[in-house]
Subunit: 340 residues, 4 copies
Amino acid sequence: MRSDNNSGVSQEIMQAIIDENHGLSEAYGRDDVTKCSEDALKTLFENEDLKAFNLISGTAANSLIIATISPTFGAIFCHQHSHVYGDECGANEFQSGGAKLIPLKGHNGKISPLEIEDAMEEFVIGEAHHSQPSILSIANTTEAGTVYTPDEVHELSKVVKKHNLKLHMDGARFANAIAAVGCSPAEMTWRAGVDALSFGTTKNGTLGAEAAIFFNDTEDGSFIYRRMRSGHLVSKMRFISAQIIAYVQDDHWLTNARHANEMAMRLYQGINDTPGINFKYPVQSNLMFAEIDEGIREKLWADGFRFYTHKAAGVSNSRIVTAFNTDPGDIDRFVEVANA
Amino acid sequence: MRSDNNSGVSQEIMQAIIDENHGLSEAYGRDDVTKCSEDALKTLFENEDLKAFNLISGTAANSLIIATISPTFGAIFCHQHSHVYGDECGANEFQSGGAKLIPLKGHNGKISPLEIEDAMEEFVIGEAHHSQPSILSIANTTEAGTVYTPDEVHELSKVVKKHNLKLHMDGARFANAIAAVGCSPAEMTWRAGVDALSFGTTKNGTLGAEAAIFFNDTEDGSFIYRRMRSGHLVSKMRFISAQIIAYVQDDHWLTNARHANEMAMRLYQGINDTPGINFKYPVQSNLMFAEIDEGIREKLWADGFRFYTHKAAGVSNSRIVTAFNTDPGDIDRFVEVANA
Amino acid sequence: MRSDNNSGVSQEIMQAIIDENHGLSEAYGRDDVTKCSEDALKTLFENEDLKAFNLISGTAANSLIIATISPTFGAIFCHQHSHVYGDECGANEFQSGGAKLIPLKGHNGKISPLEIEDAMEEFVIGEAHHSQPSILSIANTTEAGTVYTPDEVHELSKVVKKHNLKLHMDGARFANAIAAVGCSPAEMTWRAGVDALSFGTTKNGTLGAEAAIFFNDTEDGSFIYRRMRSGHLVSKMRFISAQIIAYVQDDHWLTNARHANEMAMRLYQGINDTPGINFKYPVQSNLMFAEIDEGIREKLWADGFRFYTHKAAGVSNSRIVTAFNTDPGDIDRFVEVANA
Amino acid sequence: MRSDNNSGVSQEIMQAIIDENHGLSEAYGRDDVTKCSEDALKTLFENEDLKAFNLISGTAANSLIIATISPTFGAIFCHQHSHVYGDECGANEFQSGGAKLIPLKGHNGKISPLEIEDAMEEFVIGEAHHSQPSILSIANTTEAGTVYTPDEVHELSKVVKKHNLKLHMDGARFANAIAAVGCSPAEMTWRAGVDALSFGTTKNGTLGAEAAIFFNDTEDGSFIYRRMRSGHLVSKMRFISAQIIAYVQDDHWLTNARHANEMAMRLYQGINDTPGINFKYPVQSNLMFAEIDEGIREKLWADGFRFYTHKAAGVSNSRIVTAFNTDPGDIDRFVEVANA
């Protein structure tokens, strides 16, 4: 329950890796499988013009996208609790050559159009003393475990366009957001105004495969060089590409995400009324935060359950994550122990 | 009244520049005058072990100091309205190779020890996902025009030391702070725990001369290379050095700063009770902020007075700055018009 | 025969990946398997004090090592045809924040002590206008396919130490060099004065696993942050670590490399006397360069053989690489066709 | 004779600085004088569409221009002995975020079209492993003291255009080149295909004033932000601008440069036939290199003459530079001592 990264690899994905291990193949993504993985994403997103680049980590996807679509003197708006702001050790500042990430508050982990308007007031466009606003980066699923609907994304995109920004979506848990909302990937992204997506799969059952996806001609031809010079062009790319193909095939990604979301809801329903447990945000995906009394935490810990608890200013905040292969029996046991 | 940068060069400083223009001299700071300017600063700060490096801009001083004493993956705490955070177009992120500036709130432009403690709670030391806190950067005079006392600086330095940070002071208006408090430069800096100081002179009567000053062996030998590769090693350095010598000679710098502060106080006393004028922060230096009714602003503007007014969320904020050569008659006229 | 990257994954390595896929495990390298992989490298290198960090690409290993052991204003000596100089799209300049790579000539792809002495004469230590020499980076196996002996490395290390440089070895084909020389990994590296090694495995049978290895306390604690902020901390690290463990187990790495080297020697012996084929450098590993007449090249191509041929100034240069799984029958067929 | 940077400021320039010191003026280059200085350069270069940005150092001009017109993954061709390559401590790599400078040999300090063609053969356009050639940077006057004619520049520009590069000219001693050739600034630059010029004045009589000049719409709007975030937007810009205006007024710059060039020629003619003195390159500007016997050097040194002598591989190389205010009597004395 600590992190969806702790889970291993689904059988379907592992089989795809094994099956890919035959014969010789062009290295560095010049192979046919990599071509196919981009085609698979075009089909999934109903968009023949997107460009997709396979990568090995979500931080690579986020930071390389941001470096590609922001000037080096840009300002990127993001949530104060977002991964790009606080959990990538300055990756976005580094890859972009010193762009500035501006933290916004945002209720329930979600940024509102008004907050962007307020943030814009601090910047004078064309004034050399100011970093120049370039991107709004949102995460969907958010770091609070909440989910933006396509309509909400679209509302943000209007403000984004008004101010000539680009809209980036960190989709480390994109599948969980889609599973939660029930819309299509296209509706959640380019049709709602998203310019670039970090398409994550690793938290949802692959060994390690992420894709930087650009819509709307926002990729200027520099990505392949940025990827190489940051050490992110892996030689045996086809093994990443094969994972992506298997991931989107036969709704494998959605099946995995739906299961994870269901397990979260099952847990939520089981402990929401438990005295000593208070959920911080609406539970909408596979990621939950709750204040849990120390006594309950100790019981869970003693029973073998592991999860992060962050303490600050006398308040604790526990982070519970379900995964594609979470056992319902484990959820039920968690509920049982918590309520004991 | 718009900015102390708009004022020219004092007669003493200009004469020093003229006097320096004779014969040949070693370029790039290898000359005797530059050696003398460092000695003059050692005397002024009562510290034989400091290292001082002359520069042409305050942003260069701030960002090169920060790049020198922070790792490239560091986090620098600063005020949300500070120059290093919001008015240097990302210079500190750039020079440091991607370090992160963390904005703190801070009442009246001043950061409190508690705010640092709170900010530290967001970072886990040794956790690779987190930028590692490295510096507290305060400005004295602050961007609100308020002034830290040596005691306040000392209190901050205790928290700084506790967390193994370094303490940087942006002294773009250092002279005004010293003039306001009446302490010695040593008391305000290294004796209070400051590790590095951006010693500004340009806003207080020089043509262009700043110094990056390091106390406590915090300079690791890299500064001369960082200065050169950022294009900040000027060839005819002696003309900068001569300004610094003249600046600290015979209390010229203090005389200038006291005058500017007095002019500010004269203005404050003249309009503090004026209906339609509300000062935002205590007036302690040569920099003031006030909400001024539009009618009054229009009268002042019509009479030739110029100052910035920032409007956001329906509230205006006018920034008034006096300088070493502000004419008392102009202050009196300002007061007269405002009260008319 | 185009590249050892084109080969797939050995059965032993693939099995290790499959076996690793069970239960939950800490993400981001905090797991036990990753601890074991470092231990395995300590044993292999007979060095309990080394530090090893797993990565996904050789360019990441090279550039992160260089950024860690060079100041940002450093100068890194390397061969003009080396991968770090010409085939990483400026990765080392990027990761280091602007360090400078200085190309040296070097007979047969190998740099001599004298060439370093000559190169040093262009730099004045302590002179701010000059990048400051910080590293000698050699590749072993070299990009010419030749191999440094431990004695040769040791001779280089003397010059390196004399000038206070660090010695980095790019070991993308480290196994082939060890197999060629027949010495121990320790003899080739830290006992010969190497400070840091890019330990490559991907070209020799793994799916994707490299390690940055530091000897002699040259790692200052910054590597984990540099790895994270460049997006190279993969979440399911244990799958990389498992590959490294299997790679060094039971001499699997040496078995693979010996086979590749033998295949190269078999090819060399079969075509060395062929009219129209001239080898450029001594054949010592699994990498060979030869000028091959167009007629012969066309015959080989028609028979299905693929390899790169670089043409410049009227001269062609073909690059032939054997791998851990090269079929001897293919070599014999290549010889047959070339001699037909 | 050590460096033209060692000379002071001409009377005309100093007077311009003094005259500029009156009243209030907008800071940060928003003043009228700065507008006039750009206009003066437009007139001088007969080009209403150029964009000029004032700076304080030649390294700032070079590196900011290169960062503006090269992608961050670019390769910049330059002479192996050029200032941008070897004397700026990696400034161009730093400002550009890691672009690569490629050293070319070039007879007499001048690069030939053929050398560019040869260098291009090492790069595959569109290949992600390779830095992508972006700029040819030449110096005029070169670091050997030789001068390109407009025809030579034009020939280079043809190769440059053929390969979609940009042509940058480092004009730290631009005035001396123009004085030597007798052409117009326009003929030497944009009419010959130059895209951007570092227009130096500091070595030729100003206190400190350089301009980055862009022709042919090569500036994309990013320069003002790059200048600010690197700390190069000086607050009292008008004092730099006033120098540039005075510099180009009444041919002051040409008068200065012609004098320096004449002094060099006078020296050359006086010692060219002296046994024990061998000039390395044709003497065409104010910068000369000669092998001078140790005995002669000692006599000159004893007589008070100072100049750099670089020794490598048993050969000495003395660098002699004349300036706008070099005394003919000193030249004659130098000749007398050398021939004594």
